[in-house]
């Protein structure tokens, strides 16, 4: 009987040759040797190979490798690095655990505060808007104040503050429309709203407009820098990751050092 040998068979045979098999394995190998021609052939090859390796002449050391006092340190070094790395790994691991646990505790209370903050802000904002609505503020009116908002982008003015009153407006071929003469049925946007008394100074009517003396001048843009959006770094998380990496690094270095010696 003959069959192709598996690596397990080779391993068994190799161990059998060196007398490193259990009683059961030994009996199995001997049974296979008696029954399997391929197994027998491999055994013979392995035996011959082993004899061949034993016959390899021993090479004598070409010189002495004894250490001289100049080369060798005064005393064998104390094996300090591995324990130091062990302690470092332990300390960083403990720090990591404290930081991790602490961040979970602080993180929840902080998150709760942060969650409350937008609600409070929204509430206060709505209060402020209600208060602002209740006070009378200058409004942009439509129709009564001549030229307000008119001629936007026109050649005569910068568009800001509008041009002169309707009566004084130059004829562009478009008939000026007075809301009071509008066809009945159409409603003016200001209808039903309280209109403030018109004043001569537009800047009092429209917020942010310069006074009349500034008309026709080029308005300078505000030089106030826009506050850039801050990139918030979670230093706690960075610290946690750093400590975890350090702890693992120290532990691996200590393990490798111990394994090497």
């Amino acid at each position: 009987m003959s069959r192709s040998l598996s690596f397990k068979d080779y391993q068994l045979l190799s161990a059998y040759m060196d007398g490193r098999t259990s009683t059961r394995e030994k009996a199995r190998v001997e049974a296979m040797l008696a029954a399997d021609a391929d197994f027998q052939k491999t055994y013979n090859e392995f035996s011959r190979l082993k004899r061949m390796m034993k016959a390899v002449p021993s090479v004598k050391a070409p010189r002495n490798f004894t250490l001289s006092a100049t080369v060798a340190p005064q005393k064998p070094q104390r094996f300090l690095l591995a324990p130091a790395l062990n302690y470092a790994a332990l300390v960083t691991a403990i720090l990591f655990v404290f930081l991790f646990a602490g961040s979970r505790f602080w993180g929840t209370s902080f998150a709760a505060k942060q969650a409350e903050a937008p609600q409070a802000m929204m509430l206060s904002a709505s209060d402020e808007s209600a208060a602002a609505e209740s006070t009378l503020v200058p409004m942009i009116t439509w129709g009564h104040v001549g030229g307000l908002g008119g001629r936007g982008g026109g050649a005569g003015g910068s568009g800001l503050g509008g041009g002169p009153s309707v009566a004084a407006a130059p004829d562009y071929g478009v008939e000026a429309v007075n809301p009071e003469t509008m066809v009945q049925g159409t409603k003016s946007p200001t209808e039903g709203t309280q209109t403030p008394e018109p004043t001569g100074d537009i800047s009092q009517l429209i917020l942010g407009l310069p006074d009349e003396s500034a008309q026709g001048k080029q308005l300078s843009e505000s030089n106030t820098p826009i506050e850039s959006q801050r990139v918030t770094v979670n230093w706690l998380l960075v610290g946690e990751i750093g400590l975890a990496v350090l702890a693992v690094g120290f532990a691996v270095a200590a393990f490798l050092l111990r394994k090497r010696h």
Partner: protein
């Protein structure tokens, strides 16, 4: 030779005690290094570095087989040397041992203690074939087969020397032997009849 007493003396700073251990194991250490590296100069460097490393780290020796512990230093030193060789491959200026057979100044031509020149030649052929096939193995497999089959270490000592479990030694040895058998079949005609793997029926 009381190894433990020598180790203890060496730990106290007695270099002579350590050197006695070096003298006891230097041939074996050089042999292992030579078979793993396949180069005389590199083997010398690896052996020297291994003994220096052994002295420096003597406090890490926790008893047991000093031979296995020293051989671990040697195999580690050989792995370092192989890595260094891979990073900085060099070409020797002097002729290598393989291609100076015709050199009349070669030590191969000097009188030896071998009984006959034929035996010496046969051994040289076998050694050359084995070294060639050893170098085709990966360093891990090479180290195991050198320690067990050439140096005659048992599995336990070999396991300590390569710092691996016993099962790894068994497995690596079986694989290494299979590879060596296949490789040496290519040298069948060059080897003497008694060393031919297929000669035995």
């Amino acid at each position: 030779m009381d190894e433990i007493a020598l180790v203890n003396s060496a730990l106290k700073g007695e270099l002579d005690a350590f050197n006695r251990l070096v003298l006891a194991y230097q041939d074996m250490a050089f042999n292992v290094a030579y078979r793993i590296l396949g180069d005389d100069d590199q083997a010398q460097d690896a052996t020297q570095n291994a003994f220096l490393s052994a002295y420096k780290n003597l406090r890490a020796f926790r008893g047991g087989s000093f031979k296995a512990w020293v051989m671990r230093m040697v195999t580690n030193s050989c792995y370092d040397e192989l890595r260094r060789k891979q990073r900085h491959p060099t070409t020797p200026i002097e002729p290598t041992r393989e291609n100076n057979d015709d050199d009349l100044d070669s030590s191969d031509w000097l009188p030896s203690d071998d009984p006959t020149p034929e035996v010496s030649m046969e051994q040289a052929e076998v050694e050359h074939a084995i070294q060639h096939c050893l170098e085709r193995l990966t360093p891990d497999f090479r180290a195991v087969v050198v320690l067990v089959d050439i140096q005659g270490m048992d599995y336990d000592e070999a396991a300590k020397s390569i710092d691996s479990p016993l099962g790894t030694v068994k497995s690596r040895l079986a694989r290494a032997r299979l590879s060596l058998r296949d490789c040496l079949r290519g040298f069948e005609e060059l080897l003497p009849a008694e060393y031919r793997l297929e000669g035995e029926k």
